[in-house]
């Protein structure tokens, strides 16, 4: 059975009062939504929170779900909105300084023990620069690059999920890559 068809059926079952149906939707999409949230927000804790909020919002608005859109598009839109809201709040709170330190520490533990200090430092710096570069992209460019790189969706899937023309998705991805390259140069100096 097709996954998309299954999603629609699951939503119908959830609406008819099946308690397991929505759990199945969560099980199917949580990895992708988490990957999207991680790419958008850059921190695991924030990504978990955003994933949870996404599914909570989806559950609350289940009755408002229109059958003409795909469940994946619907979930992606909710997730992107959650991430943008969280980032806006974080910007208001001024949460920037400590994030880099936390990210560096996390990257140190993620590296193999036999890596040389110079190589380790270089990789850490690079990771932090990439995260900052992705984080500084405008939301419309960021969501495309994250869906491509983190969710590993095809251009066609991104086009369907965001309800955008295929050429627009490719154009946005190209622009995002160019801007990332410029930002990486800037942050790497």
């Amino acid at each position: 059975m097709d996954l998309a068809t299954n999603d629609e059926q699951m939503v119908k079952r959830a609406l008819s009062g099946d308690p397991e149906a929505f759990g199945e939707i969560v099980r199917r999409w949580e990895r992708r939504i988490f990957a999207l949230a991680f790419g958008m927000l850059g921190r695991e804790e924030d990504a978990r929170d955003a994933t949870q909020e996404t599914f909570l919002a989806a559950f609350r608005n289940l009755r408002g779900f229109r059958g003409d859109a795909k469940v994946s598009s619907w979930l992606h839109r909710i997730a992107v909105n959650q991430c943008i809201t969280r980032q806006r709040r974080a910007k208001v709170r001024g949460e920037t300084g400590l994030e880099d330190e936390a990210e560096k520490n996390a990257a140190v533990f993620a590296l193999p023990l036999d890596a040389s200090p110079a190589r380790t430092a270089e990789k850490i710096e690079r990771s932090v620069a990439v995260r900052r570069a992705v984080g500084s992209l405008p939301p419309d460019l960021r969501q495309v690059i994250v869906m491509k790189e983190f969710e590993e969706l095809t251009f066609q899937q991104i086009s369907e999920a965001l309800e955008l023309p295929l050429s627009t998705v490719k154009s946005r991805l190209y622009t995002a890559l160019r801007q990332l390259q410029m930002r990486l140069q800037k942050f790497g100096e």
């Binding site: 099980r27 199917r28 990895r31 990957a35 991680f38 695991e44 599914f55 095809t154 050429s167 890559l177």
Partner: protein
């Protein structure tokens, strides 16, 4: 390539969309071959392809470091091996004490200090409120007596026993009896009797004041009142019969 626009000091080719399609391996076989040929001829596309490849690799490194290289968002987890909603943050149930401890561990120093100060302030205010309430419970009834209102303090008020009261009553009865006995004094002793009466009254008044709250000071007796008082006390005879001697206006009698 001719007709190549220049953006940010770098030439770009009109085949930007083909470039990203080729980069992510989504071009069809024919399109991929075509673009590969183009890539060898176009400096702009070759340069961008190289740069974009580096950016893509950097993002992959970051992603693998953060999520683990085994992370594959497309793979559905099997129910037997992966716990349901493993990527959803679960709310931990903490006891109040544990939550407080965690708050103090996470909170910055100024926030901890402010919280401690607020708690101390709250405790002090509660103590003060309790003290005020307990005082108001123990406060004696305010007595408005005389010109000035004074608070009768039960701790400072002298306490009288039944014996003391009996004694005072007995003394007072004796004084009255003595005064009655002095009524028959000769006229020459009137002044001294009145004086004694006044002194006794003053004493009685003092004794009375020591027992009871102060009363407003009474004004002095007028002459007429004094005479009336003397009559009442039989210091001045009412009838001629009672006079010790007869007063006559007639000099010849």
């Amino acid at each position: 390539m001719p007709n190549m626009p220049n953006v940010n000091g770098r030439p770009i080719c009109h085949r930007a969309e083909d470039l990203v399609t080729y980069l992510y391996g989504e071009a069809s076989e024919t399109d991929a071959k075509d673009f590969a040929v183009h890539l060898q001829q176009c400096d702009a596309c070759r340069g961008e392809f190289s740069v974009f490849q580096q950016v893509h690799d950097s993002i992959l490194v970051w992603r693998n470091e953060a999520l683990g290289s085994a992370f594959n968002p497309a793979v559905l987890p099997s129910e037997s091996t992966v716990e349901l909603t493993q990527f959803v943050r679960r709310d931990r149930k903490l006891t109040a004490l544990a939550a407080l401890r965690e708050f103090f561990n996470v909170a910055p120093l100024w926030l901890r200090a402010a919280t401690a100060f607020a708690v101390l302030l709250l405790g002090g205010l509660c103590g003060l409120a309790l003290l005020t309430i307990s005082r108001s419970w123990n406060r004696p009834v305010q007595l408005a007596v005389g010109e000035s209102s004074k608070v009768a303090d039960p701790n400072k008020e002298p306490k009288y026993t039944q014996q003391d009261v009996d004694k005072a009553v007995q003394k007072r009865v004796e004084e009255i009896a003595r005064l009655n006995s002095q009524v028959a004094l000769p006229k020459g002793n009137e002044t001294s009797a009145i004086k004694e009466l006044t002194v006794n009254r003053s004493r009685n008044q003092l004794a009375h004041n020591s027992v009871q709250p102060k009363t407003p000071r009474s004004r002095g007796l007028s002459r007429r009142e004094r005479e009336q008082l003397a009559k009442d006390l039989r210091l001045i005879p009412r009838d001629e019969d009672e006079l010790p001697f007869v007063l006559s206006y007639e000099p010849n009698q």
